[in-house]
Amino acid sequence: MLELRSVTAGYDRRAPVVRDVSLTVSAGEAVGLQGPSGCGKSTLARVAALLHRPDSGQVVLDGETARGWRHRAPRAQRTAFGVVFQQPRLSADPRLPLAELIAEPLRSNGRPTDGVRELAETVGLGADLLGRRPHEVSDGQLQRACLARALALRPRWLVCDEMTAMLDASTTAALVGVVEAYRRESGAGLLAVGHDRVLLERWCDRTVGWAELTSR
């Protein structure tokens, strides 16, 4: 279970963008978080994935309270998350061929990288694309690689922040299909953040609106 307890967070302590928000993702559950542009849902998603330190409140992973953030988070907690963002070009090192990009988390955690090809196949990337660099592939192909990277360490939770906002309908359905196949097989939970209510309701077990979360 992933719990956010009374989280307040932002970029300026005097004007937090997230105020006193609580949200729980049960084991294996898929929760959609829907809200308007700029409301703070991405900030909350980053707190949940231990990428942004909240001003106050707690993140609790299977009963264990998180104590560190980003590289200061204990490895076991950090690697419990796979994260995919909206803009693959901003989150992919432009110098790395896709194979290296996908292998990055394996390398930095001292794990073997021989499964990369198979992993790439599960997201629909053929071997011919793995030698290309980010500027040599389309947004859809790059986002597939970013999803493979997020799955590399077999996370217990996936956090997808507007993962498909810049993709066409078919690529969107394909990537959601990959996430769901992984979740069926691994039992991982999901926090999917976005503004498309139709998509989130089709994808997730339940979808909460930002207004409901913040009005309690």
Partner: protein, 328 residues
Amino acid sequence: MTPPTDSGSGPAGTVDGGTVLSVRDLSVRFRMRDGSYVRAVTEVSFDLAPGECLALVGESGCGKSVLASALLGLLPGNASVAGSALLGDDGLDLLAADERVLAREVRGRRAGLVPQSPAAHLTPVRTVRSQLTETVRELTGAAGPAGVRAAAARAAFPEDHLNRHPHQLSGGLAQRAATALALVGDAPLLLADEPTTGLDRDLVERTVDELRRHTSDHRALLLITHDLAAAGRIADRVAVMYAGRLVEITDAAGFFGAPGPRHPYARGLLNALPERDFTPIPGMPPELGALPPGCAFAARCDRASGACAAVPALVSGVACHHVEVAHA
């Protein structure tokens, strides 16, 4: 090449007062360092009538942005272009015009662009206010804050953010700043490349409604988008691109409603929507540097047959060997 007999049904082409833009056999290819070619756009033809909005849709990487760049003379040096694109009453060929003409007379004045990555098109060291002020002065001759405020309001850009620099804007705000800049010139032709990425539904609707309003007074809009709901909301016609070619061009109402798309790819794209089947088209599009000989969709198409080894021509608005076309 013979000119296309039609570009789909509907109001286009039949309106008196000519066309705003007439594109014939537009092809763009990029020469790669190893001497090979990427065929980003192949033999695309369509017309834009005064007052019309045409939505251009298709999978990521299929050539939509390259098409828009070609029309504005914004392609990089390794690109070569063929065909013609005649603009307005004087029939200026955008593909043949030299850079001085494009810079002085066309871009911003006769053809505006809302770019796909707005952050990259805004000048980083200047505030939004200063960029808008200059554009308003250059294109309308008006000086002073009233014109700037009105320009910002048209794209729902918040007035209290005018003094910010581009890096201080969220993606959605940068998008709105770029839209505001593109609308200033009231150009007869507006090209909008994914103008609503990163915006929530309310803002998407506000933005596309404003773009649509731009087409009153006989202006035309080419809307490139992945957002099929936004396209359905404002487009008169829809063009579907696959692997660099137009595979269907038709009335928006019939495309999004009944009878629906006719091309197998276009059907698959609509069925992938979460409000429909939510199932992807199997496989991925071919590489534009290594296109297969016949129909580029064949590897993913459940209707493919031997006939599909030849490229299907666009007839009555659809390019497929196995679609019945009604002959007028």
